[in-house]
Amino acid sequence: MNIINNKSALTQCKSAIEVSHVNFAYSKESTPILNIEKWQVSRGEHVFLSGPSGSGKSTLLNLLCGTLTPTAGSIALLGQPFSSLSNRQRDKFRARNIGVVFQQFNLIPYLSVAQNISAAAYFSGKGNSSQKVLANTCELLDRLQLPSHVLHAKADALSIGQQQRVAIARALINSPQLLIVDEPTSALDADARDSFMALLKEVASDSTMIFVSHDNAMERYFDRHCRISELSLPSTTQPPHAVKHTSKPKQESL
């Protein structure tokens, strides 16, 4: 079964994310951290996910990235039963279809900017030539307003702001349909945050985006605001309509 290469299935489904009856606990004995009855994100939608520390935001992102698997329930991404794929299939699916920007950026410190970005292109297995990857990298860095000389700089020699943009470039190099961004603005002041968000919205305009932050002031940049406390209910209770719309959902452009 070549799920991850089935382009028609990936593009025909209108939902980017479908979470059904998902329950997650780190061990059998511990209390479930997440209990989501139903949650859906449309294609192209930019969703702001908020909640206090320890509420399960990062756990939900890890479930969506496939770095954790649900204890119960299912997660479908871009029409594919993501949570029931094998580890290898999930790795490949993630590499090709999901871009992740981590809170700490998680660039590989001893690789150059170009190597960090091209590694993501290489391991996705999309088979783009190195020249094409380099051209795409340069274009992305340009759009992210990074000077061309950073291309050969080691990741750990960059400023925080530069690392943040390189992390976005790495997440976008494979033109992912789903972009997951985990609190990348926590270290920024208000001006820098606004500038960053404008840039992110611009470069990720074609992707579905889940943006996590505990700063509710960020909700104005997004189509929808989901509070994790409303999304995930205690396992004994039935979930109500967990989604609060802050604006009209963006129409999918299929």
């Binding site: 990062s58 890890n62 990235c65 770095t67 954790l68 580890n87 290898r88 790795d91 490949k92 993630r94 590499a95 090709r96 992740v100 981590f102 700490q104 998680n106 660039l107 590989i108 410190p109 001893y110 690789l111 190597q115 091209s118 590694a119 993501a120 290489y122 391991f123 996705s124 297995g125 790495r170």
Partner: protein, 442 residues
């Protein structure tokens, strides 16, 4: 991309990587040195003499006789009476006979008294005959033919005069100054102890020992030494040749015509090699004078058997050192895993599968070992060329090309195989590391 990541990752941890590289390089070099010395000693030994069916000397032990007569190592055996030599010469099985008189030196090189038969019949390697690069064989009693290394290191050419010293030390206070030998020929290089020897006529040697004094004085000297409690071996010399033969002229000189009183060793070539064992038995049972005959091939095999145990022990120890170094490599990789879990998780997130990560860790280990092996090969080649003269002069070990044999290639391949195996431990640790734990460890 994988190799770029592996190289950059090693460069990031260059201190530990360099120390690991150093320890592996030293251990592989040690193993290669042992292997090279082992194979070169074997080659050197087996090519030293060929075509000689029996070596006859005074009873002193098979190895002693072999080492002193063929390898020019150790103390020469006590001399054998020339009557016994004549008796051997007249044996119908014997095709040719080379008398050798040992015990003198020239500036640290062994001097061997012999006849022109030596140049005619002595063979080395694959029955290769000796050849001269310059000059001729013995032409008169005070002729000398020198080995290639002697001529090279002392800068001799045909016509030069040399002085023979009494005894085997590199420095002697008893020089036979009265009778300088004239170099009549220089031998081609053979890669055997022949290269480091000075061949003189038996007659010239006897003359040199007699000096201006009579043969009686010469004999008296030996008797005095004996009475003073010195054995002939302590004098490391056994030349008591009579000096009562008529001096031949240069024109009719025949080195075979001279018959000394005794010689140190005799090499025999037989008409039928199958008779070697029988003749050996006969000689060993000789009642006229106690003699010992050895078959060079069997003596070499015995010598090699003794050395074989040492060789196996050395090889085993070196192998253990390499394994220790490789375990050090695995330990280094395992120790760095903790700081690499986040990096591994990031690689997983961007699409590198567990198997790719396993390959990455193994590639790092392989890179270190391949570089170490290359450095070791270069280091060993340099060291061997640096110590080549010392090995040949001190241990009689002649290094021949190619330095690295098939066994060296096998050793390097085995080391790479071992690297693959030991690197599995950190590689599996990377393979099994949870993706989520790595991403959230920061």
């Amino acid at each position: 991309m994988l190799s770029t990541i592996a190289i950059e990752s090693l460069k990031r941890r260059k201190t530990t990587a360099l120390l690991t590289l150093l320890s592996i390089t030293i251990s592989i070099s040690l193993l290669l040195c042992v292997d090279i010395v082992r194979s070169q000693v074997k080659t050197s030994f087996t090519r030293t003499v060929s075509g000689v069916d029996l070596i006859v000397g005074a009873p002193s032990g098979q190895l002693n006789l072999l080492l002193s007569s063929v390898f020019n190592i150790g103390t020469p055996t006590k001399g054998i009476d020339y009557k016994s030599v004549a008796s051997l010469k007249s044996n119908k099985q014997v095709s040719w006979l080379i008398p050798l008189s040992l015990g003198d030196t020239h500036r640290g090189f062994r001097v061997i008294g012999t006849t022109n038969r030596f140049f005619e019949h002595f063979k080395y390697g694959d029955k290769q005959a000796l050849a001269l690069t310059e000059g001729r064989v013995f032409e008169q009693p005070l002729s000398t033919v020198v080995g290639a290394d002697v001529a090279d290191s002392l800068g001799y050419t045909v016509g030069d005069k040399i002085i023979v010293s009494h005894g085997l030390g590199s420095v002697s206070f008893n020089n036979h100054d009265d009778h300088p030998f004239i170099i009549s020929g220089i031998l081609e290089k053979t890669g055997t102890p022949v290269d480091k020897a000075v061949y003189v006529t038996l007659q010239g040697l006897e003359k040199a020992h007699s000096g201006p004094k009579s043969a009686h004085t010469s004999r008296l000297r030996k008797k005095t030494a004996f009475l003073n409690g010195h054995s002939t071996n302590e004098h490391e010399h056994e030349h008591e040749h009579e000096h009562e033969h008529e001096e031949p002229t240069q024109d009719n000189y025949d080195s075979d015509a001279f018959t000394p009183e005794s010689v140190s060793v005799v090499m025999l070539g037989l008409k039928n090699r199958a008779a070697a064992l029988q003749l050996q038995y006969q000689i060993n049972q000789s009642k006229k004078e106690p003699l010992m005959a050895i078959l060079p091939g069997m003596a070499l095999a015995e010598l090699w058997q003794i050395m074989g145990n040492v060789e196996a022990l050395l090889l085993g120890l070196s192998g253990l050192i390499v394994i220790c170094a490789l375990i050090g490599l695995a330990t280094m990789l395992l120790a760095t895993m903790r700081e690499r879990y986040q990096e591994i998780a990031v690689l997983r997130t961007i699409g590198a599968g567990p198997f790719t990560l396993l390959l990455l860790i193994q590639l790092e280990a392989m890179l270190l070992t391949i570089v170490s092996a290359a450095l070791s090969i270069a280091l060993v080649a340099v060291l061997m060329s640096m110590f080549k003269p010392w090995l040949s002069s001190t241990y009689g070990l002649f290094l021949s090309s190619p330095l690295f044999s098939q066994s060296s290639v096998i050793i390097v391949l085995l080391i790479l195989g071992c690297t693959y195996l030991v690197s599995l431990f950190p590689a599996i640790a990377a393979y099994k590391r949870g993706l989520h734990a790595g991403l959230n460890s920061n």
